[in-house]
Amino acid sequence: MAVDTALVPDTGYVAGTAIDPLSHAQRLIRLAVGLVGGTAAVIVGLMVLTDVHAGYRVLLTVGGLALLFMALDNAGKLFRGPLFETGLWLSVIWVALIGLSAAFADFLPFTESRDASVTIFEGTPILKRPDLFSANPLGTDRQALDILGGIVYGARVSLQVSVLAVAIGILVGGTIGVVAGFFRGRLDTGIGILTDSLLAFPPLILLLALASVMDRTPRNMAIALAVLGIPTYIRLARVNTMVFAEREFVLASQAMGASRRRIIFKELVPNVALPIFSYAFIIIAVLIVAEASLSFLGLGIQRPDPTWGNMIAAGQDDFDRHPHLVFAPGIAMFLTVFALNRVGEKARELWDPRQANL
């Protein structure tokens, strides 16, 4: 079987080489139109039309955002050359934003978003509709907890769990994979069989089985998700090790009588690390979804730790009457997964040698 694993959606995407026929002047005009129109539409959609049906406001706002995106795209191409990837940069910004706000969540001025007992005596109304310019920009849930705060704290849990899982995966899987790829032989076969056995479980099924055995704390969840990722990393590391082990510089240092340990740590690991790391973003995205799916089934991290998955799960029964309970965390998760995928793909394009010769 190919190197790619059950986790990584192998897309075979070839970056489009944009052919851009637009002239300078056209771009400037579009930039201006987009900026002005987009901003206007967003402002009108969000602030002015407060008593119009929510659907129209959403439509207007989304349209405005599209115009703004167009303007940014034009600005980027105008000032940074025609190969500027606006979507990619926006993705980087979004990931950074989520990461930073999660890191500094404690310093952000949210009203209570985790402890329901606090809200009882605070007097925050329950199920408040989103209103961007109030204390609860994305509304409140049934416990009067602030949803924006929940999203940020949820990002913290989701990111912590999946980054930790990826770190464990890289460390354990990477080590085993390098060893297997370097020594080959029986060891490799044995490891291969173990990896195959782990991969024999459809990913979510394995996670379900793990989740049913463990206490559902964030730490355990990270371990379960790491188990999910380990075979992927073993295979990635093994293949890359095999590729590099055949390369001239490794052969040369072997010929010069370098010890195995030296070859592994000085020659192989630094080279194998980069392609492995290049997958980290995409795997983080996959694990965020996996954790959320588990929480959705009621088998993931439990309240009071908010995660996007358990926020959506808690809101699903009220979805029809209070759509913001699902839409707010849902959109946050979608954007994050989208951005991570996008960044991750670029990373693979840049750092994974096999990707280049596909």
Binding site: M1, A2, V3, T5, A6, V8, P9, D10, T11, G12, Y13, V14, G16, T17, A18, I19, G55, G87, G192, I193, L194, D196, S197, A200, F201, P202, P203, L204, I205, L208, A209, L210, A211, S212, V213, V239, V243, A285, V289, A292, S293, F296, L297, G298, L299, I312, Q316, F319, D320, P323, V326, G330, M333, F334, V337, F338, N341, R342, R354, L358
Partner: protein
């Protein structure tokens, strides 16, 4: 070649053994009292003791594993812990059908849509259409299955006019674009019949499809818990939303794969010569280029299956479809009915391993070129 296949099969044996071991012991470690789930809220302590004994939970774990494995090999996965204690094998057999139907429909939908989108965006590589399709596909991949399920219920079941009009707008744009192409070709080169005629036909077909779907827009059910074993129309209607939710990410994967492969195929000699001979574009695309390009879809079949199985668990839970996924989660994991979890997970894992082995082998036969190309 036979040797390669033989080796692969031999390797399956230890894998399957480890899988069975892992399944049994992992699930057996579940804390909590499996006997408890056989009782209702008005049970007494004495009831519990009786039930616990009747389950044979007092035997040592190794004995239970040997019993279980030898049973499993002869198709006996034990009895469900829940009244009326049916054989797990029966339960699995019964619920496999709906899951297979759902997955087959999801796969069918994703292939159909992906072929259309993949060919189109490859043919239009680099244009705005291509970029739009790529962006959308990126979006599809980033929507978790459970969110897709919830959103579909929200929009298709309770706000059906929104998707209905979105369909009209989306398809309307395509129609306009085709119409524009047809007219421009006509104006450019009236003599060359095939150039504009194809577009004109396409315009009509797409416009017809748009209208037909708009008029025939079905009432999608909220749940798929009914079973329409003898009425395929109803079955399709009730499985449409769950299948579409499952198909979403597969559409994206297939489309992007197909697009990439199409791009390279379109550069190949035979396509270029066909173009030079003036064959109509659609013919080149669908008759000549599609087949060699779609070969590599097999390479992702294993991954697709894994994701699909995971997806069915969630989708079946949301839509109340009584398939294997709902059996494992709803009847197994949540009430800790561990014989069902063991049996279900074992069946899924073994099936998955086998299918992957078959895919692996068939792919050695089908296209050695791909194998060489992928390390």
């Amino acid at each position: 070649m036979l040797r390669v296949i033989g080796l692969k099969l031999v390797r399956l044996v230890p894998v399957l053994f480890l899988v069975s071991l892992a399944t049994f012991f992992l699930v057996d470690l579940i804390p909590g009292d499996p006997a408890a789930n056989m009782l209702g809220t008005d049970a007494t302590i004495e009831d519990l003791e009786a039930v616990r004994k009747s389950l044979g939970l007092d035997k040592p774990i190794t004995d239970r594993y040997v019993d279980w494995l030898s049973g499993a090999l002869s198709g006996d996965l034990g009895l469900s812990l829940r009244s009326p204690n049916e054989p797990v094998t029966d339960l699995i057999q019964r619920s496999v059908g709906p899951t297979l139907r759902l997955s087959a429909m999801a796969l069918g939908m994703s292939f159909t849509i992906a072929i259309f989108l993949g060919v189109w965006s490859a043919q239009a590589a680099g244009t705005r259409v291509d970029r739009l399709v790529s962006g959308t596909m990126f979006g599809f991949i980033s929507v978790p299955t459970f969110l897709a399920g919830l959103l579909f219920i929200f929009f298709f079941v309770f706000r059906e006019s929104i998707p209905r009009w979105l369909w009209v707008i989306g398809m309307g744009l395509i129609v306009l674009r085709l119409l524009y192409l047809a007219i421009s070709r006509l104006v450019e080169d009236r003599a060359h019949f095939s150039g504009w005629f194809g577009y004109a036909i396409a315009t009509l077909v797409v416009a017809g499809l748009m209208m037909w779907v708009f008029v025939q827009w079905p009432d999608f059910p909220r749940t798929a818990s009914h079973r329409y074993d003898d009425n395929w129309r109803e079955q399709i209607r009730s499985l449409f939303l769950p299948a579409l939710a499952l198909a979403l990410s597969e559409i994206a994967v297939f489309t992007r794969l197909l697009r990439a492969d199409m791009l390279s195929t379109l550069q190949e000699q035979f396509v270029l010569s066909a173009r030079a001979k003036g064959m109509p574009t659609w013919r080149i695309l669908f008759r000549d280029a599609l087949r060699p390009s779609s070969f590599s879809l097999i390479t992702v079949a294993g991954i697709t299956l894994g994701r699909l199985i995971g997806g069915t668990v969630i989708i079946e839970t949301i839509f109340g479809l009584d398939g294997l996924g709902k059996l494992i989660v709803g009847t197994g994991v949540i009430p800790k009915n561990y014989t069902i979890v063991q049996g279900g997970v074992l069946v899924l894992a073994v099936g998955y391993v086998m299918l992957n082995a078959i895919i692996d082998i068939s792919y050695q036969y089908l296209d050695p070129r791909i194998r060489r190309g992928r390390v």
